[in-house]
Point group: C2
Chain length 413, copies 2
């Protein structure tokens, strides 16, 4: 059994790094973009805690951090658990952070109760999971899984032109430490749901059977800028007016397409905008998600058709560039069974709910190189990527206990 | 008669300061925001040219530049003509610049042909007409006319927090030179039309009877940000989805309201935006224009109703702040008659077209303190606030000749 208070206090303490007071929030939000000074502070604090309980440190070439508790047979590949410490620009205190701290709490319990496991156990902190600063998301786990080339990721730039590699070395996280890959026997990640399903069902434990497929696009719409005064409405060629229709139509499409379909316009920019200039160019991001590959393809086809039709109708040029693509990801059956068993053993009175994650997680990439599954705990109001994100100490404790018992099962197999 | 080649060459030479090559543009565009280093270069060049023909310099407290050619009775208030040298972020080579250079060409002709006038004549360069860097537009002429308080304008900040006053002193234009206001007998401004009317009529000369009323608003729409993946479409509270509907509906409203109504969304910003976050807040600018005050009021009322209805329907908070308001402005009858007479004398074969300007001009503010009117020349394709802005040397010459003869009429009255 884990220590609820220690788990909660650690989450709150690390959440002070980047803390923001927010009206209507129980614990405040957290602004801690990947590989900023604040991210380094959080990483350093986390490593310090793990070292206090005797863990050894490994850092790989993209700054992923592995903290290892030895097993009785250290030639066996470790069981790995963890998540990320970076947040969205207006993030909360739980997304990612809970997964790392629950991993740490697991090791603290094993150490405290002097429990030995056959396999070593590692807690991992993946670099730049959110994709808010460096795009796309899940870059660190993507490199680990061989999905992204190391050099491509190191030269990825943020909005101000700084590369991920430069930030790693500025923060002292480019230094390879014990960088010999011991492999991964199984990977487990616990996370807040970031959606409303578990809360609505009033079930505190979720077993994540898989993740929606998702695609990101950079869209550029070009018309002709003109003066806001002398240009009659019917002679304009306003890119934003076309884009507004696209937003409305695609939102309608995704709302009626299937229960799993999602369509989000997260970023929108008018280059060189000015109050009295009708926009000649608009750039925006489009994020489409679906549960099955054929449906994702169909959603994309329909969305593109609509955008082309609107662009044609308004005499606008349209360019759509895919920047990230992830097929729907089913998790490993035996890992799911381990979680199921750990749930039954720990909370026989709870019937955990099996669900599909709408959010991508590092676990998606790791599932390509090791058997993987995830555990969810509820999110209050289904909120995430929002400063008001919240999960209660009791709910976090339940999830952490299931993780602990899952890890013990896996590490002794 | 003015010197077409000299006028054109001067416009092209000053347009090199901030020049950008643009595909499909005959002469390229110009990026020269108010009170940047480039604006200073253009001001210095302009002053140098005027001094070469013996003009004396006056600079007032907001950096407006007056270049004076003496009359035979220098106790009389001068006839003033001019415009501005600043451009939009993606501006052209004629908006404002032509008015300053046509004023200079007028003085060059008088000097060359040794023509004396009773009254002194001044060519003026107003500070920050465009409103692209410091908001709102027409700040320099607004201070001159007593519409804005000097100190408010000096402390106005650009997007990066730099004040207009700081920039004036950095560029050496805070220094008062001969800053004693001699008054203004009449003010004439020549400008490109920035719209399609004269070109469609194939008439090269426009007499501007007045200017549309216009209002600027800062609008903020607030919903709740959430994660692009786990949040079902029907549970979202997406500010951008609401704003997209507002853009579509208000564009429709202005398109059918009256032939003079205009509605423009020039700027739109999602604070802390991220690809996988559905926007919780959107800020945008709204620019409404109409020909008559009652209609402007009615347009505003309807626009606000629509925005409130959409906000309510999507459960969004809405805040609308008016940032600038200009009632419709009729110009002075006797000034208009002078222009009419100058047209008849110079180009008896042309029947100039009388029209209303959709763009605000420094002349609007000056009309509150001195009799004022404007002359227009055509804009190719009706384009302005666009790098492809163009008016031919022949058309500029015609306008300049009418200005020259108008000024001679006025300066001898
Ligand atoms: N969990 C999470 O926020 N992941 C970021 C990737 C995504 O957009 O789903
Ligand atoms: N002429 C011009 O571009 N003026 C700027 C003020 C306006 O937006 O009309």
């Amino acid at each position: 059994k884990c220590n609820q208070e220690r788990l909660w206090n650690s989450i709150m303490e690390i959440g002070q790094i980047g803390h923001v007071d927010v009206e209507g929030s129980k614990v405040g939000g957290c602004h801690r973009l990947a590989l900023t000074d604040k991210d380094k502070q959080a990483r350093d604090l986390f490593i310090g805690w793990a070292k206090e309980i005797g863990c050894t440190l490994r850092v790989d070439a993209v700054g992923n951090i592995f903290l290892r508790r030895a097993g009785t047979d250290n030639d066996l590949p470790p069981v790995i658990t963890g998540s990320h410490l970076d947040t969205q620009p207006t993030g909360g205190k739980f997304d990612g952070i809970f997964g790392c701290l629950a991993g740490l709490e697991t090791l603290r319990c094993l150490e405290e109760q002097n429990i030995k496991t056959l396999r070593p156990i590692e807690v991992v902190v993946w670099t730049n999971e959110e994709g808010a600063r460096f795009k796309p998301a899940m870059l660190g786990s993507g490199v680990y899984a061989g999905v992204f080339k190391l050099n491509d990721v190191l030269t990825t730039k943020d909005e101000s032109g700084i590369t991920l590699g430069d930030e790693l070395s500025r923060l002292g996280y480019q230094e390879l430490i014990n960088n010999e890959d011991p492999g991964c026997y199984q990977y487990y990640e616990i996370h807040i749901e970031q959606g409303p399903v578990l809360e609505a069902l009033e079930i505190d434990l979720g077993i994540v059977a898989g993740v929606l497929g998702m695609r990101w696009y950079d869209v550029e719409v070009t018309g002709r800028s003109c003066h806001a005064g002398p240009s009659p409405m019917n002679l304009r060629n306003d890119a934003l007016v076309g884009v507004a229709e696209m937003i409305t139509e695609l939102t309608k499409l995704a709302s009626s397409f299937s229960k799993d379909s999602r369509c989000t316009f997260g970023e929108l920019n008018i280059p060189n905008s000015s109050t009295n200039v009708s926009p000649g160019k608009v750039n925006f991001s489009l994020d489409l998600r679906e549960g099955r590959l054929e449906e994702l393809d169909e959603l994309q086809t329909k969305a593109f058709e609509i955008m082309h039709r609107i662009a044609f109708h308004h005499d606008l040029e349209l360019s759509i560039k895919e920047t990230w693509s992830l097929p729907p990801c089913p998790f490993d059956e035996s890992c799911l069974t381990n979680i199921q068993q750990a749930c039954e053993a720990t909370y026989p009175e709870i019937k955990p709910h099996t669900l599909i994650s709408g959010a991508g997680h590092d676990a998606v990439y790791i599932s390509r190189v090791a058997p993987t599954a995830m555990i969810f705990v509820p999110s209050e109001d289904g909120l995430s990527h929002n400063e008001r994100e919240y999960t209660s100490p009791e709910q976090l404790e339940k999830g952490c206990n299931v993780l602990l018992n899952t890890i013990i099962l896996a590490a002794n197999a």
